[in-house]
Symmetry: C2
Subunit: 338 residues, 2 copies
């Protein structure tokens, strides 16, 4: 079976699901209006689910079919919000060949408004700001609803990437245009291990308006704990209240996915990579590790009162992998309700 | 109170204890003759305790006093063997200033034979082979008893260190001189993270006669798991039976000890360093982490059937730190008996 790829914040993909009718009544998710309050209250335990819009060029009919499937899948999930990624090509970040080709998607905000409106869960619209002109981003900020939408700004993947708008300019624009819209940032705990200043970057972003952060996929718990620890002690020392850090968990269903995750810059400890590589069921093994990672992070953060949450990505390839992301979400939900 | 330092395999120290009489009857430790069998059987669960002989130049009377204290302390411990370190100056390894001065000790084998004979537990005599001439090492190998003694050869801390005997020559000498004496090697899991070949080094040493390994102090469990994983899968792939890996746990009683451990090349994750640094009771915290590290390593190794054991070092500074090493040993013993 030929299957296409959606995998990651800011990254290439295609959602691929069988069809069914799209029109459905608005579903009232029990958590729906809570997300904004939870973020403002700096609460722990926020749970998100992340998807990527369909590939650009997909017919309207096919998009309707895909979105219907997604709605069906998402409506029953106990989540606080739905992330819609805005992928960008990252070829400037590494000279290594990309294991899967980069494919542009339809606009996340457009997709949310036109196809996912029946899902009452708050939408977190990613914006890879370097892709947009000032007026384009401005228009998005005007159109976004501070009640139903949130946004996360993503900077360029490397300094050499050609951009039209810098992230600092985007922050200024956001403050001027729609100050009430909740803004998040991305954090890459792995970067802390090489540069040691990820917590400083996060505090800088907080000072520019970010009220929550979503991490890159976590396979290296030590890197995340290093970051959380520095974030905590710096906040204490400088008397800065902490905002929620949402850790992303990504099931891994094949060796090629593993290779792709590494290409994306996700750090995977050697022992864990060996376990996945030698496993008879890499997907289930990755779920076990992801759940374990969450428990370890939760225990570490709870002890210090650091607000953390969890974002589960749908690695929407084969049905088995989509199901795995749902299973992981349910496992995390059970852990959070304990 | 002025206190002196003993801390580490191959490293400077001074044992400092109050005096008491030395002559005592030979104590029969329940584990005493088991160590050699356990190693030959490649068993898990070997527990060792590591000490450094008194500082060179200490009077015979004072040495007797120190050894008496050590005997008292060690005789009731449930251990399979007692490590006696042979420290060497490591100034060639790093240009950073050593937090504690290097101090030579009396010869470990001499100390064992002359002062610790009443302890019937097997002694593992370290030999920093680069310090000795061929005839000196040869003499040690002739004098050592394959029934009561074991030895661990340690190479030069860096390539620039002036040595009289290379470790490969030492291995050859050992095979020619006292082939029955059980030989161990040292392993530095941290090295695996930078060089990625620690398991290969270990297998090379096995082929040269090593039948067990003792690690550097473990504060970075991930590094140890990386090494164990590679050791396991390489052994599987090449059908080489695994020998026991004994992980060293070292209580840390002060910020200066922490600094010293880092100087010695022990990798400490940032989050863990922060926890120790900010703790009101760094010593107890370090015991908690050490116990936790052991549990994590044990669980990882047991699942795969990798034989591992544990060596607890006495960081013989203040009495409270000596007591802490005993407490840690007891904790580990309880965990091993579960």
């Amino acid at each position: 079976m030929a299957w296409m790829w959606k995998i990651y914040p800011r990254r290439a993909s295609k959602e691929f699901f069988g069809g069914c009718s799209m029109l459905e009544a608005t579903i009232h998710n029990t958590r729906d209006t809570m997300l904004i309050e939870k973020i403002k209250n700096r609460e722990s335990g926020i749970i998100l689910y992340g998807i990527t819009p369909p590939k650009k060029g997909t017919s309207a009919e096919k998009i309707a079919e895909i979105s219907s499937r997604q709605i069906q899948r998402i409506q029953s999930l106990k989540i606080d919000g739905l992330i819609l990624y805005d992928i960008q090509d990252e070829k400037s970040r590494t000279s290594e060949e990309r294991p899967f080709p980069f494919m542009e998607t339809v606009d996340a905000f457009h997709y949310s408004k036109e196809y996912l409106y029946s899902l009452s869960v708050p939408k977190i619209i990613y914006r890879s700001v370097g892709k947009y002109s000032k007026s384009e981003l401005s228009q998005f900020l005007v159109d976004a609803s501070a009640k139903d939408d949130l946004t996360v700004f993503v900077g360029a993947p490397s300094k050499s990437q050609a951009i039209t708008l810098s992230i600092n300019d985007a922050y200024k624009l956001k403050a001027e245009t729609n100050n009430n819209l909740l803004l998040g940032g991305v954090t890459i705990p792995e970067r802390h291990q090489s540069k040691g200043d990820e917590h400083i970057r996060v505090f800088n972003k907080i000072s520019q308006g970010c009220t929550f952060f979503v991490s890159q996929g976590v396979y290296d718990v030590n890197a995340s704990k290093d970051f959380l620890s520095e974030y905590y002690y710096y906040g204490q020392k400088h008397n800065i209240p902490l905002v929620p850090i949402i850790f992303t968990l990504t099931p891994c269903g094949s060796l090629k996915t593993l290779q792709f995750m590494k290409w994306l810059g996700i750090s995977i400890p050697k022992w864990l990579e060996n376990e996945l590589t030698h496993s008879n069921d890499i997907l289930q093994k990755s779920l076990d590790f992801s759940e374990q990672s969450w428990l370890e992070l939760k225990s570490f953060a709870n002890e210090k009162g650091i607000p953390i949450g969890c974002n589960i990505e749908s690695v929407a390839i084969r049905k088995i992998e989509v199901d795995a992301s749902i299973e992981l979400l349910q496992r995390i939900n059970r852990q959070c309700n304990k």
